[in-house]
Symmetry: C2
């Protein structure tokens, strides 16, 4: 582990030392978000040390012109970058004209930062001695409001403790910001207007190329010893910055405070011409409430989220803190209110990867949102892909596919592919299967079939067409093969017959045909609409079926395992345990060719298939494959440990399951991959949730019924979680001795626990 | 074919129409070079239409910071770019103050451009009417001197034919030039000093980062009706341009002319401080001679080159023009005078590809230089690689290899790798084998074994070590495999067991061991030096041998062919003939994944191996492999048709051989690949030479003896070529009826013709 400075606590993330080396990591870990916007935990006051500034607005991106060494046909023209948005959190603080800057202070003590996950706020306290020897105590708190999601609020208090001091708060807005990640040093924002009125300021700016119009706004109030004081601010405004200066001669021991409200209005939600007036309206509402009342609303909103989604773990504070951190960050990133949005791999915590939507959403995030929110949230996520179907068809056309074949993009903001690395963009096509699997998974979990005739079937047809065309008939094998792919294990490129991809392709075709038949039979109106639109024919289905029925799967008779791909056994099969530690992580130490010809697996690949389709394999088969592949797995993808934790639990290999659980849940808190300063791994956090609910809890849906096979790590006294299953809530509590089930709902529910049927009734605790 | 405007001629390349659309193509085709410098055929006078300006100095390059989309460990930090050098050929021409510019003239007629390959000069004549209605006749001639290789000369004559006119010649030097190909718009040149003295000007400039110091210089003389006139020029000099204005009121019908001498002195050859004085000395020499006498020397020098290297073809002007163009351009690019230089794939004709040295040199160019120059030239090229051995070892270390394993770079200027595309840089490792093969080929041809104990063995050891470490023992196959490579066919990436690569690897090890044994036995002093340096042990050789003796070669029993790589037969085997024409060239029409999973072959791969090692396969085997692979070959590499021409001739498939010959010899003249405007394909021109000498002529060296199996395309009456074989020159003349051999040398020579021994004696024509 790289860093272990986060203090263990059940409900908070806490840092108790000011260490400049940790600033960028903490900026990631203590990030705030409310689904509509988010920001890294940058200091309000100026900081001249190494820092990574980041504020982000959901759905606002920039199409950065693609940069490659060697252009390949089919590459997209641009890469959609998450965009550092105008800064509204900044408050410069002058103490007798000297800028408060923790990087230049003579002394900083009593530094404490807390991200209170229960209530959804971030605080920071410290005592600092400036170079002018004035010693001040600072207490700052901020949050991004869930109840008013265009607004965030900051309360910043400063107390000179060894002298009177003239203190100036300079709250500002700044649209002259840049991205760290930029291909050509383009200017991303065009500031249209900087204006101010009384204690409010507004910067209207639009993104270059994409023309997202935004208004960034602020309003401030100042206080002495908690009493509002009216200070006429000195105002300066230039082309991209508006600064208000509130100067006050503060007596030693008195507390000078500022409440700053700020945020964004965006033209995704309102007409461009109304962005300022909507901002004013929002400011009016929140200033009327005031900081404390708004904070109370925040606590209530988070309480409601936790009521449904909390997982408790007794007897293991690190594990408890880990899972809550994951659940907290997921809820900060995406709340399912807007089907035009999705879940970026770094959420609102960094710029890396760009785009907002990967197959992570379908493979890892949907189960979490299905179980902890209303089913509309998962439906929204599915609808997002339905809305992008035409773009997916265009994307496939660019690669030579025809007749409505759809290839969903590797990375996207608006449905268009915006990734450019041939071995991924063109070849990591298994992503297409995850889109289909999510439809299956949604119906399996919610029982809501209506999505399929309404929207899903068209998606399934486009995907089946892709797989049919992408398979090649091998005369040599007299079977269909899939050549030149990259599987989930991205440490193999351009391989033939990746077992996971071939299996998923066959399944997608079979599942599409199955649903075409159901809808033809039972939803004739939908069927005639869809068949009219897609021009699907009997002959075409027959051709698909031929591919699905004759798909080739690489297999070793000797080892009785499916091979990750053709030729896997030609590799030098040295396990990870026998690799020198100095060679790890291999993606930082080895050249790419060496990684490729090694047997090392970045993340679950064959095992990912066993996870998706576990009913189709016996436990013996799972064990054989787990025991064969896990020793070669380096887990250098954030998406790897969760699946392995689930599989290990299923195999009753609880020590392994627990180790993988800690790794997935504390990946960012303990910075396993030495990169947390770039941002958090948001999508894998849903995998952490799965590793408890599906892994230890053993939750599955079979035949419209909840199944559990609860297990508990020996390190824990007990753990509990809740799932929303078809509008009834089941609370599960697992201890070393027993498991209890409690139903919050109206109707009796039959569930299966360790293969036995159990009936649970509303508000009646059942022990097993 | 894209363009077919070049007039057929035995000795000249001729263009007879001014077509702005052809300007950039002609700038490539009519390029000049003298081994030390070169330039595209840019007009002397200003041209405002589309043009690609290029002047180049041998060995002067710029390390352009690498640009990639996604960084991989092991990528080099920079890509060595061929550098557009300061311009010395420019002469602005003002006619009554109006700039002569073919792009803006009212009328251009009688345009004729000629590249006289026999004598080594470029001329251009035209009549133009300017916008001011003055009509002028222009005759311009220029050449880059072989006898004084720092200097070029221009004679530019203008005659106003419908009016008197005030005409100004403005010869200039310009170091404010840029590259078209630049990753980050860096400034490549730093001008240090601009100076002038009488009729001479000098610009001292150095390249950024690499610090190559150069002096670009010029001196001009003007004439009226061939009589020198003394005009005091108006001189202007700024930070990077020096311009002299020679104004004269020219009477209608009189000829105003300028002779301009210019060129470069470089610090590779002289101390930095002497570049200007050496330039002055060179100018003194050539101005003393004058344009015409210098041109006479040029003709003589080219006559000498042609005497040895000419190939004549009777009855097919296009074929004749093609081969001479290839031989001419090769000699313009590299003359073997300097072992620090090498043969860039675009020579001095464009910027593309960067770097100067590819495996092309060893695989394609060395045979040409061995047979048409003294053997020292080929030895120089081998020494170039010996000098880079330490860098090749470092290059291998960067990829994780140890113990002196050497991997020669894909592209280099100074021995360091400067290519960055993982599937090529890290995986197209067969290039290493070509370096070893060239050593074998050199000894086979010249009989000069001394290179091996002196230098070559160390290279062979480094290469053998690389192959030994790069092979993987497959428990599954109980043989050694080579995983994750790109073969000569770059339309396959990261494949396993490329037959060509595996075969070459085994051969390299065997050949290294064979030579270690010879040198141990017969060159004990060299052996103790080399073994001391390389620490080679008996155990190590044993380990190598195990790999070589147990190398796996993919093979199809059904087809009785070696497979290009594992899994080749899984592809959909549709021949190129059945591909829609609209899909060609596939590298411009298809996405990369589609190319990769197709069976289409960019250039000879298995057949390249059969070419290198033909004695190890029967003609039946060759025919089987040729007939299997050629139909899938798209020849989208310039290096493909020549090898196929040779193989087709060997198989007596003369129509095919002839078609491939035309394609290789007129690749640029007829712009088969639609890219000639970027520059010429210099290295493949040596392949053209091979397709006549080795293909039609059937020349081979076996057991220190020249072998011939002459064939002649039915389209030709006769053809002839000369080869320098071990300091005796054999002239071969092949007609439809007979072949004659003539020896220019001292001693009788036994040769083999169609498997019969023939003795040829000095100056005695032998008919067969």
């Amino acid at each position: 582990m790289n860093k272990e400075y986060i203090i263990s606590d059940n409900w908070s993330i806490i840092e108790e030392e000011f260490n400049p080396e940790n600033v960028k990591s903490s900026e990631s870990i203590f990030s705030l978000g409310n689904g509509a916007m988010g920001q890294r935990a940058n200091f309000e006051e100026h900081y001249s040390g190494p820092t990574f500034q980041g504020s982000y607005i959901a759905g606002v991106y920039y199409p950065d012109k693609t940069r490659v060494g060697w252009w390949k046909n089919g590459y997209p023209e641009y890469f959609a970058k998450v965009l550092n948005a105008p800064n509204w959190i900044g408050i410069n603080v002058l103490v007798n004209e000297e800028q408060l800057d923790l990087n230049t202070c003579i002394d900083v003590s009593g530094f404490r930062r807390e991200l209170n996950m229960k209530e959804g706020w971030l605080s920071r306290i410290f005592t600092a001695t400036l170079q002018n020897n004035i010693k001040v105590e600072v207490v700052a708190k901020r949050f991004l409001s869930l109840s008013h999601d265009e607004v965030g609020a900051i309360n910043y208090e400063i107390k000179p403790i060894n002298s009177d001091a003239k203190i100036t708060f300079q709250p500002y807005l700044d649209s002259g910001i840049t991205n760290e990640d930029t291909n050509w040093d383009d200017k991303f924002w065009d500031t249209l207007n900087v204006s101010h009125e009384n204690h409010q300021a507004f910067i209207q700016a639009k993104t270059m190329k994409t023309d997202f119009y935004t208004c960034t706004f602020m309003e401030s109030q100042v206080f002495i010893n908690n009493k509002s004081v009216l200070i006429e601010p000195n105002i300066s405004a230039d082309a991209s910055i508006a600064t208000f200066s509130y100067e006050y001669s503060v007596k030693k021991g008195d507390t000078y405070a500022i409440n700053k409200f700020g945020g964004y209005t965006v033209d995704r939600n309102y007409p461009k011409s109304e962005l300022v007036s909507i901002a004013k309206k929002a400011l009016k509402e929140v200033t009327k409430l005031g900081f404390n009342a708004l904070l109370e609303k925040q606590k209530k909103a988070w309480s409601k989220i936790w009521e449904m989604s909390d997982i408790t773990i007794e007897g293991d504070v690190k594990a408890q803190q880990g899972i809550r951190f994951n659940i907290f960050q997921l809820n900060q990133t995406y709340l399912g209110k807007d089907s035009r949005l999705n879940i970026g791999p770094k959420g609102f915590t960094g710029e890396k990867y760009g785009g907002s939507t990967y197959w992570d959403t379908e493979a890892y995030c949907i189960p979490f949102y299905m179980a902890t929110k209303s089913q509309n949230v998962a439906r929204s996520l599915l609808k997002y892909r339905y809305n992008h179907l035409e773009k997916a068809i265009e994307n496939a056309q660019k690669l030579g596919f025809k007749n409505g074949a759809a290839l969903y993009p590797m990375v996207t903001m608006n449905g268009e592919e915006c990734h450019n690395e041939w071995e991924i963009t063109f070849e990591e096509i298994h992503r297409n299967g995850a889109i289909a699997f999510a439809i299956f998974n949604y119906y399996r979990y919610t029982g809501d079939y209506s999505y399929i005739p309404e929207m899903g079937l068209e998606v399934l047809i486009g995907i089946a067409r892709f797989w049919h065309q992408r398979a090649t008939f091998s005369v040599e094998k007299n079977q269909y093969v899939i050549l030149g792919v990259t599987g989930p294990n991205e440490y193999e490129n351009n391989i033939n017959n990746n077992w996971y991809t071939n299996y998923l392709a066959k399944w997608c075709i079979d599942y599409a045909i199955e649903n075409i038949e159901i809808i033809k039979e039972s939803y004739s109106e939908d069927y005639s609409r869809i068949s009219g639109k897609t021009k699907i024919t009997h002959e075409e289905l027959h051709a698909w079926k031929k591919v699905a029925d004759n798909m080739y799967f690489p297999y070793s008779k000797k080892h009785k395992i499916f091979l990750q791909q053709d030729g896997f056994l030609d590799k030098e099969l040295i396990t990870v345990a026998d690799l020198p530690k100095t060679d790890r992580p291999i993606n930082q130490k080895w050249s790419w060719d060496r990684i490729l010809r090694s047997p090392y697996i970045k993340q679950a690949d064959v095992l990912q298939g066993f996870y998706f389709f576990e009913d189709q394999f016996s436990s013996e088969e799972l064990k054989r494959h787990f025991d064969f592949y896990e020793p070669f797995t380096v887990h250098e993808s954030s998406l790897s440990p969760c699946v392995h934790s689930i599989q290990a639990a299923k195999l009753d290999q609880m020590d392994q399951a627990y180790t993988f659980y800690l790794r997935t849940s504390r990946l960012d808190l303990d910075d396993y991959n030495k990169e947390v300063e770039e941002g958090l791994h948001i999508t894998s956090m849903a995998g952490t949730w799965m590793s408890i609910v599906e892994g230890f809890g053993g939750m599955r849906i079979k035949n419209d019924t909840l199944n559990f096979e609860p297990r508990i790590p020996k390190q824990w006294k007990a753990y509990s979680f809740k799932v929303n299953f078809r509008d009834q809530i089941v609370k599960v509590n697992v201890s070393q001795n027993e498991t209890t089930f409690k139903l919050e709902g109206q109707n009796d529910l039959d569930i299966i626990v360790n293969n036995n049927q159990v009936t649970i009734s509303p508000n009646n605790l059942v022990k097993v």
